[in-house]
């Protein structure tokens, strides 16, 4: 396919792999975190690590929207569907996230909950228009990429005067997650997570631009290279990170210049600012409660806020005791370090959220890479 195949070309990959091998200093090692699940998925699906020298290691980051969704939020969505009888719409990835009482949205659907998979927030608005007798709730999750469409849906609903549409807003912010990792004792004090740089988000950066990462490069002296989600993008970004490390630079560089600029999509940013405001705090799976790390709906649009409309309280729920998703999301552990990995926790029977989405570190390793473990 045009504009896709070019970024998956095996010959070009071999060329970049050769350059990486030449430029990487054999006397040291390089540890880079790919923030996004999209990168994790590309690395596993295309076998990118097979093309890297042994001293260049990738650490999977927390940028998988489904993986960082805490149990308590999925519980809220399930309760809305089962107890309040709403029609709950959400993206397909969310359906299998394990929640309390052995439930997931998919299992709640089998128990009679009216739970629908939608491809866009606009589908949920359309459903509400079509069924005025039903309360339709859009379970909105994701980083900055999925936030503008939710803002559009809320504005659409307001313009249409819909009385039966609301949003359970669980949108989270990328920079907060990066700070949390850089501030973690494993990175700052103990050095147990060696981190020489970041591959910065692709789609998120099309919205927020490259500017927000400049702080991390300057303040924490970590190079950031924003990269697209295709495997060649990832390879090229790794090469650029190696160069920065070798030259002692810590800058924000943009490999994904075909889609990202410094300022990002101002129209989308304004739209988001109009509809949403910062939450004081939000619980993330794996990263705990982070201050100013998520969005809520502004009071001006309160009637579309499902938390207010249905007086939802938030109750945090601890993960399974043996589940290492938290440590995996912080880069402290690898999927294969978890006792549950591949034994009781598999994609069919996910215990932790990293095993759910194909972007999750555990699911990606289980699905594409576990032959390396045997």
């Amino acid at each position: 396919m045009k504009y896709i195949d070019e970024f998956r070309d095996g010959d070009v990959a071999r060329g970049i792999a050769g350059a990486i091998a030449r430029e990487a200093n054999p006397a040291r090692s390089y540890h880079f975190m790919e923030f996004c699940g999209g990168h994790t998925h590309a690395i596993s699906r295309y076998g990118v690590s097979d093309l890297l020298p042994a001293n260049v290691k990738m650490i999977h980051g927390p940028g998988c929207p489904v993986c960082v969704l805490p149990i308590g939020r999925v519980d809220q969505a399930i309760r809305l569907a089962l107890e309040q009888g709403v029609t709950l719409c959400t993206y397909g990835d969310c359906l299998r996230v394990p929640a309390s009482d052995g439930l997931s949205l998919m299992k709640a659907k089998a128990r009679g909950g009216d739970i629908r998979m939608v491809y866009s927030s606009a589908d949920a608005v359309a459903l509400a228009q079509k069924h005025p007798e039903k309360q339709v709730v859009f379970f909105a999750i994701g980083f900055e990429t999925t936030t503008p469409p939710t803002a559009v849906a809320i504005k659409q609903a307001a313009a249409l005067g819909l009385k039966n549409f609301s949003v359970l807003c669980c949108h989270v912010l990328t920079p907060s997650a990066i700070s949390s990792i850089l501030e973690s004792p494993e990175v700052r004090q103990w050095g147990t997570v060696p981190l020489d740089g970041f591959i910065g988000p692709a789609h998120v950066s099309t919205i927020i631009g490259s500017r927000p990462y400049e702080f991390f490069a300057e303040e924490y002296r970590k190079p950031v290279v924003i990269a697209g989600f295709e495997p060649l993008d990832v390879m090229q970004a790794i090469r650029m990170l190696i160069r920065q490390v070798n030259e002692g630079r810590a800058e924000v560089e943009n490999e994904f210049s075909r889609a990202v600029d410094r300022e990002g999509n101002l129209k989308a940013q304004n739209l988001v600012a109009e509809v949403f405001e910062m939450r004081k705090q939000f619980e993330w799976r794996g990263l705990n409660v982070l201050p100013y790390s998520a969005l809520r709906i502004r009071s001006q649009f309160a009637e579309f806020d499902a938390e207010k409309r249905f007086s939802l309280a938030y109750k945090p729920v601890a993960d399974h005791k043996a589940c290492e998703c938290g440590a995996i999301l912080r880069g402290v552990k690898k999927p294969q370090d978890c006792k549950l990995f591949g034994t009781v926790c598999t994609p069919e029977n996910a215990i932790g959220s990293c095993m759910v989405s194909s972007e999750g570190a555990c699911a990606a390793h289980y699905t594409y890479g576990r032959y390396k473990d045997v």
């Binding site: 396919m1 295309y46 993206y91 495997p231 890479g369």
Partner: protein, 350 residues
């Protein structure tokens, strides 16, 4: 003795009528539905017997194969076919993958109250032409009606019987290290056609289902004289799931070459758009063949010479592997597992 009066006061209103509970009651309304709709289109000497079952001629020597398949597709009509022809092709293919010549089909219908007779007629006509084209008559059947809301328009179960030609012993447990893996054409056409239609994705160039009966293609493959070990149709779960089944049954591993996998550009684009992998998307007119190494080119040529195998390709090899992994050399130059499908394929978020 001749019938002096017409059996039914007025004919079935196929154009405007709907299925109602009486059509499943076993009474006159049901008899009329069978006569004026099912028998009208599907009619053959066996159905005409009018008994509870079909009395069939004894077959020539050879083991019998029997296979059954339930069809619950939504939407009922999609680009390239409908539930009717699909239910005929699906079961013919299941019988044919066992190395058998399909002979007869039985069809069971579960109709939902309120279903349009016009749609039912369209479906039955489609079954009739698929059966006729395949040369496999539907010799017996059954109809039930469920209340509105308890079905999805129509469910069709078909059962097929066939005879295995002597010397044609196929099973998923016969793949051996060194064997070559072939597919008969582009992957994922049916699944993406259904998904595009179901979700009203409105792609510019419609993706067309590949639904087709494959016993003719298999006959051509047999005629090539190639030593075929396994035949399977990669329906639900796609090629990936089918190969994992075979790897497990045969106790072997497999290595695919991503670059060799035939995928229609439109299907590839749709999958890319939705974050799906064509290896896991359903096919209804494709087969996987695993054959002896030395016969692979001969078999490929025979497949490509048949209209349903024009895009056939050699896609990989069987090797020894105690873990029974199906792996793939990616076009990118790395390696990865091609795992079983887990749950349903769900579109990714971003």
């Amino acid at each position: 003795m001749t019938d002096s009066r017409k059996p039914y006061i007025r004919p079935l209103d196929i154009k405007h009528g709907h299925v109602d509970m009486a059509h499943g009651s076993g009474g006159r309304a049901m008899a009329q539905l069978i006569e004026e709709l099912f028998a009208k289109y599907l009619g053959n000497e066996y159905l005409a017997q009018g008994d509870d079952g079909a009395l069939l001629p004894a077959t020539e020597k050879g083991k019998l194969v029997m296979a059954t398949d339930c069809h619950v597709v939504s939407p009922l009509f999609f680009p390239g076919g409908d539930i009717g022809c699909l239910s005929v092709h699906g079961t013919i293919n299941d019988v044919a993958m066992m190395g058998a010549q399909p002979l007869w089909l039985a069809a069971g219908f579960i109709l939902e109250e309120g279903f349009k007779l016009a749609d039912l007629a369209r479906i039955v006509q489609s079954m009739a032409s698929a059966a006729k084209e395949a040369g496999v008559p539907i010799v017996t059947g059954d109809t039930k009606v469920v209340e509105r809301g308890k079905g999805d328009g129509v469910f069709i179960t078909t059962t097929g019987v066939g005879v295995v030609a002597p010397g044609m012993e196929l099973s998923g447990n016969k793949a051996r290290p060194g064997d070559v893996i072939l597919v008969s054409g582009t992957l994922g056409d049916h699944g993406m056609a259904i998904m595009a239609e179901r979700e009203s994705l409105g792609f510019d160039s419609p993706i067309v289902s590949d639904t087709a009966a494959l016993h003719g293609l298999i006959a051509a493959m047999r005629a090539s004289g190639a030593e075929i070990h396994v035949l399977r149709d990669p329906t639900r779960g796609g090629l990936a799931t089918t190969l994992n089944e075979i790897a497990k049954q045969s106790g072997v591993g497999m290595m695919l070459q991503e670059k060799a996998l035939p995928v229609h550009p439109a299907v590839n684009a749709a999958c890319e758009f939705l974050g799906l992998d064509p290896l896991y998307v359903a096919n209804e007119g494709k087969l996987v063949a695993i054959c002896a190494e030395n016969d692979a080119e001969k078999l490929l040529a025979a497949m490509q010479a048949h209209p349903l195998g024009v895009n056939a390709a050699i896609v990989g090899r069987v090797h020894e592997d105690a873990h029974h992994f199906v792996q793939m050399t990616t076009g990118f130059g790395g390696k990865r597992i091609v795992d079983w499908l887990s749950g349903e394929q769900l579109p990714r978020i971003c």
